[in-house]
């Protein structure tokens, strides 16, 4: 059976062609056909400055892994070259036009493409303002109570968690660290309330590393459960400043736009005293991006009107909200205001909750 040579295949597969030649030799017994094909091959080799990939060809059809990899690399290089050429062309055109050039296009990012969330809080909304004004944090925001924080861990904490708790206690003013001697949280909470604590933070530890945080607002307030990741203690931070002082820091809350985000933002804000001491020049930042909350602690100094220098002090960590429960800590019988349901909520990459 004669192999009917399709010119397409000859063009594309450079290396494969080499192997096909002996095959063709064995199968097509025609000497003349051989010669012709060899000539064609030579011609092909010479004019193969740019390998053209016709549309019916796909790199995945090559069975040999090494050759497939090689073809794929070539394909990528080709594409990159074309992309660079396009860019250069555009840049030239832009320069040529000078002032009349069209404005630069904004690249698409996931934050840009975020799905419209109807729970985004409108600052003029009265109902939401009333709801926030009379919720569990109203006592703090009206200046009636001062925050007093109790930090503890899960039972038998390891070195890293203990150091993390101590550093957190230096960052948050009026915070006390207590060792959890296997006490049940439900019994700890009434005692805290009796001693006027306003917050309870429990750092959960797994395999010698902190990985969870339960933040409970005390009189009867909401309880938030976070997943903690990327904890960097003070000695692991590069170019850090000296230890934080006792001054109350300022608090920056970034990007908490939805109603749930507002609740969480207020939860964080109520950790710190309401009047920051600007003398201390310290600032704690909670930055929300894509539902992850990044905590950083800096000291700033204004060099002149426009330039600021910052030094990072203190621990840094990231939080992700897992559930928000109405009422103090009661995971079995409490009512949840929001629960992270991964399969439903994480299905769309552009939809965020906070």
């Amino acid at each position: 059976m004669d192999i009917t040579e399709v010119p397409v295949s000859e063009d594309s597969k450079g290396k494969k062609k080499k192997n096909k030649k002996p095959k063709m030799k064995s199968k097509a017994g025609n000497g003349e056909a051989e010669k012709k094909q060899q000539e064609v091959v030579v011609v092909e080799n010479m004019e193969k400055s740019e390998p053209a990939f016709p549309p019916s060809f796909s790199v995945s059809e090559i069975k040999n892994k090494q050759r497939r990899h090689f073809m794929f690399m070539k394909l990528k290089q080709e594409k990159r070259k074309q992309k660079m050429q396009l860019k250069k062309k555009k840049k030239k055109e832009r320069e040529a036009l000078g002032d009349k050039a069209p404005p630069k296009e904004v690249p698409k990012t996931i934050e840009n493409q975020r799905v419209y969330d109807e729970t985004v809080v409108d600052p003029e909304d009265e109902e939401v303002a009333f709801d926030e004004g009379t919720d569990e944090f109203s006592a703090y925001f009206n200046g009636l109570t001062n925050p007093k924080v109790l930090i503890t861990t899960s039972d038998r904490p390891r070195g890293r968690t203990v150091r993390f708790c101590e550093q957190l206690a230096t960052v948050i003013p009026n915070a006390h660290v207590y060792y959890r001697r296997g006490l049940a949280l439900k019994r700890v909470i009434p005692q805290c309330i009796a001693r006027d604590f306003t917050y309870l933070i429990v750092i959960n530890e797994d395999r010698k590393v902190p990985n969870g945080m339960v933040l409970c607002h005390l009189p009867d307030g909401p309880t938030a459960h976070f997943k903690v990741s990327s904890v960097r203690l003070r000695k692991e931070m590069k170019r850090r400043g000296k230890d934080p002082t006792e001054h109350s820091p300022e608090v920056i809350l970034n990007n908490f736009t939805t109603r749930l985000g507002h609740s969480i933002g207020r939860l964080f804000a109520a950790l710190f005293p309401q009047d920051p001491q600007f003398v201390g020049r310290q600032v704690a930042t909670f930055h929300n991006q894509r539902d992850f909350i990044f905590f950083r602690f800096h000291r700033y100094i204004f060099k002149n009107e426009k330039r600021v220098g910052i030094q990072e002090l203190g621990p840094r960590f990231t939080l992700k909200l897992r559930s928000l429960q109405k009422g103090t800590f009661d995971s079995k019988f409490g009512e949840y205001e929001w629960v992270l349901k991964r399969h439903e909520m994480d299905a769309c990459r552009r939809k965020f909750q906070l």
């Binding site: 729970t119 109902e127 709801d131 009512e335 949840y336 929001w338 629960v339 439903e344």
Partner: protein
Amino acid sequence: MMADSSRLCSVWLGSETGILKGVSLGRKQAFNFCNTRQLSRDQEVRALCWADPAQSELLLGSVDGTVRTFSTEKGAFTEARRCGEPAEGCFTGLAALSGSATVTCVECGTLRVWREDSSEPATQLHAGQNVCRMRQSPVHRHKVATGGKDNPLKIWDLQRPESPAFTAKNLRDDWLDLRRPHWVRDMAFIPDSDKVVTCTGYHQVHVFDPASPQRRPVLEVEYGEYPLTALSLPPGGQSVVVGNTHGQIAVLDLRKGAVRGCLKGLAGGVRALQCHSSQPVVASCGLDRFLRVHSLEDRKLLHKVYLKSRLNCVLLASREEAGQAAGEAGSQEVKEEEEDEVWDAMERVEEAPKRKTTTEEEEEEEQEEEEVKKKSKKKKKKKKEAFED
């Protein structure tokens, strides 16, 4: 203007900020109805029910102990009555009796019947401590059921308020011979029978039958790991929809005690569920500040409305759906005329497709298909007759 908007609303919700919200699903609009200029947390709506079978007035029970009446025709609050002290606890149940009397129940267990004229209760009885819910039987208006934490289900006959008509017995002790804890969160009367279905804080659903000599539950179903907070019966009578504090809503089958399916979407605890009296839809509201309407047949989300406060109770009106049914009839007519031509052009298919006949139009359509076998003229004649009816 308010009257117009209140007449359109098919779903009524009570919120924690004291605002009564009406939602019109067809037009996708939500309206707030508020009594006072100043919002206050005292007005938090805890119980909501229809004041009359014609569904023209709503009764709202608030945390400060007042029961307000809202008229859907006028779109405004018409009266307010003092029905108890806030110290006794919040309203856990509200029901309307014939003869413009109201039945209220508070958390400390006091059940009172108030007449229109006097400010003292006509009848008063104690249903134990920690009552979580009181519900009225839709068939026998004088029967009410109460239940709570460590307070078993009791069915009271209001004409004989001395003792309950039926008290449920606690479940059998478990294998360690320890008393099983008991926490009735919500209950409902099953239509066409005496049975009552309850859901508990220990994630169980029980069915009690007062007619049978057994005072323990006839059927027990467990669902999930979190307390079940709300319950509703769809019109079929064979299934029940329950919701728990984690936001999981499930349809359970009462014949076998199996889970038929779950309704997805809720992110916060369910505070109230309500099934529509004729259509297979269920409305749910909860702590995540959304109203969601799911269809019971395919368990898909039909509507989702963001209402800015946490929602405590929901009520469905059965009449706005009439407007939607009229719209459906119009579209069905057009569809059948087109189908007529299609049937004329095509060959006859032997078997008639099975379909659920929930509306008259669909029944007529089935009849139509059977009559395809006869001549087309006759069919057209009959169709015209059917529509003229």
